[in-house]
């Protein structure tokens, strides 16, 4: 049913720290690896071994420059489905293949009933959905629904593939509907924000802003002067001593 369910108390999502992300593409790569065999598998790759290689990825890591001069920053920016609270990708779906789970708010596609019209991708401001042109159906981030509830893997690994692989801990997974959860606390303490809030989609995923660069020390330590012992040439050493008197 593509009508939205009543807002769930549980809102599973990601918190992405733009301060620590180093743009290494590990999240995108591990996402591709897991999901190539996961809930919405396969993720096609067209012409994988020649020019014009392309395929479906649930996660794309952009890099931006923001600000000017000393205030300017290079920011790496992973972009994936934000599991919005009012996702138009779900309501525009003519078949009911696109849906938002009532229990945890995850937005998914039923590839058995998707007709591949592409309207959901048009309705998503964030470019989170990519058409599988091999299978003729829409694919998107599943929030690793097949990992986070998976009782056959160790409990510590029941997190989205992108989160568990991030080498710098820039990605956090949790319940953003619970104000006491670690991710909600993180968002509150770091001033987490929504992408394109003016579109009114109310994304669940939050981004943490890059921290401000530290101000330069107003009293920098004096540079240590060379000692006599640093001067190897005897003539120079004598000159240094003579001039230092």
């Amino acid at each position: 049913m593509t009508e939205l369910p009543p807002a769930s108390a549980k809102k599973l999502g990601l918190v992405i720290d733009l301060d620590t992300c180093v743009g290494c593409q590990a999240c995108a790569t591990n996402c591709k690896q897991w999901n190539a065999g996961g809930h919405l598998a396969p993720l096609p790759d067209m012409k994988p071994y020649s020019a014009g290689a392309e395929g479906v990825w649930f996660n794309r890591v952009h890099s931006y420059e923001a600000g000017e001069g000393a205030e300017g920053r290079t920011v790496h920016f992973p972009r994936s489905c934000l599991h919005c609270e009012t996702p138009a990708c779900v309501t525009v779906c003519p078949t009911g293949a696109s849906y938002k789970r009532a229990e945890d708010g995850i937005v998914l596609v039923n590839t058995d009933t998707c007709i591949g019209c592409g309207l959901c991708a048009w309705a998503c401001p964030y470019g989170a959905r990519e058409l599988d042109e091999d299978e003729g159906v829409m694919k998107k981030c599943t929030l690793c629904v097949d990992r986070i509830y998976n009782e056959t893997i160790p409990e510590a690994q029941r997190q989205p593939a992108c989160v568990i692989t991030c080498p710098v801990g820039a990605r956090h997974f949790g319940d953003l509907g619970d104000p006491e959860s670690a991710v909600s606390q993180l968002v509150a303490s770091r001033g987490g924000f929504d992408l394109m809030p003016e579109m009114g989609y109310a994304p669940t995923n939050k981004y943490l802003p890059p921290r401000r660069p530290m101000a330069p020390n107003p009293n920098p330590p004096a540079e240590a002067e060379p000692t006599t012992l640093d001067i190897k040439h005897p003539l120079m050493r004598w000159l240094d001593r003579a001039l230092s008197r």
Partner: protein, 312 residues
């Protein structure tokens, strides 16, 4: 947005078909068209043919056309689903209209034709709303888009009805109507282009709001996430339209304008010459419509391009 030929053919052909069905259902009960059942039958068959070609073409756009029937289920939330339901529902009075004409039941024919006209208008409205409801595409998310689809369908439909009228020796009413609608379509299109060319309001999404980096300062892309194309870029970052925009807009305008003297000439000339000129006018109108629909897609930009090139 990528101007997919299947969708352009669909909205142009079905639009003209629904327009023809609409005016047939409106003008015939008012006795403004040739009264013979054969005239109405020819017009009905032509309209259903165009509608069916268009709908079949729209199926080509689907990744899984064999599942198209599933699209009829979500009419409570989806304009695409509503369009499908309205399109199929409109066949019912249209077919009853045809059967009533064949079995010589003028009362039933009138009622069924009016119901078909309502169905045609609702279907075209739903088509327009599919586009108008998409917030990420600012050139479509406008109150004038759905009425524009109605106007264009009415214009091309009236042109076709005028062709049939000219062939039957009574072109004046539909031809006059098509001239009025051509003027309407012209001014609506001009207003639309002025609107989408206007500077964007400060509340429109920008690369800064898309990335949330505006607090740091002006944001610009440094490295792309992938060096090759992907479906998103081919579907939503189509740029050819903006390159040829001005020339194509002039062609659309010229096409719409040209139908006016042609239709008037056809009315004045009458007879076989009038019919030939009216056919020419209708062909020009349909060609201009195809160009207009191509532009409607090619000029539209999607907010996902903010992430890729900082513009939308």
């Amino acid at each position: 947005m990528n101007p997919a030929p299947s969708i352009i053919l669909f909205t142009t052909a079905s639009g003209a078909g629904y327009g023809l069905l609409f005016w047939l259902g409106v003008l015939r009960p008012l006795r403004l068209l040739p009264a013979s059942p054969s005239f109405a039958l020819v017009a009905l068959v032509l309209s259903l043919l165009l509608i069916t070609i268009g709908l079949a073409s729209s199926l080509l756009h689907l990744g899984r056309p064999e599942r198209a029937w599933r699209a009829l289920s979500q009419w409570r939330s989806s304009w695409l689903s509503r369009e499908g339901v309205a399109a199929i529902a409109t066949y019912i009075p249209a077919v009853i209209f045809g059967l009533a004409l064949l079995t010589d039941r003028p009362g039933l024919a009138t009622v069924a034709s009016m119901a078909a006209a309502i169905g045609a208008a609702i279907t075209v409205w739903c088509t327009g709303m599919i586009y108008a409801s998409l917030k990420p595409i600012r050139q479509w998310h406008l109150p004038s888009v759905a009425p524009g689809y109605l106007l264009h369908a009415g214009f091309t439909g009236a042109m076709l009805l005028a062709v049939l009228g000219a062939l039957a020796g009574r072109p004046v009413v539909p031809a006059m109507l098509s001239v009025l609608l051509a003027i309407g379509a012209l001014s609506a299109k001009r207003a639309y282009w002025q609107m989408i060319d206007a500077p964007r309001p400060a509340t429109a999404p920008t690369i800064e709001s898309a990335t949330g980096l505006g607090a740091i300062g002006r944001t610009r892309p440094l490295d792309p996430p992938h060096t090759e194309q992907n479906w998103l870029l081919r579907e939503m970052a189509f740029r050819l339209g903006r390159k040829h925009r001005d020339r194509l807009r002039s062609l659309v305008m010229a096409g719409f304008v040209a139908t006016i003297p042609l239709a008037i000439l056809a009315m004045l000339a009458g007879g076989p010459i009038g019919a030939v000129v009216m056919v020419l006018a209708a062909l020009v109108a349909l060609a201009a419509m195809l160009a207009e629909r191509w532009l409607m897609f090619a000029e539209a930009t999607h907010t996902v391009t903010l992430y890729y090139n900082g513009e939308s």
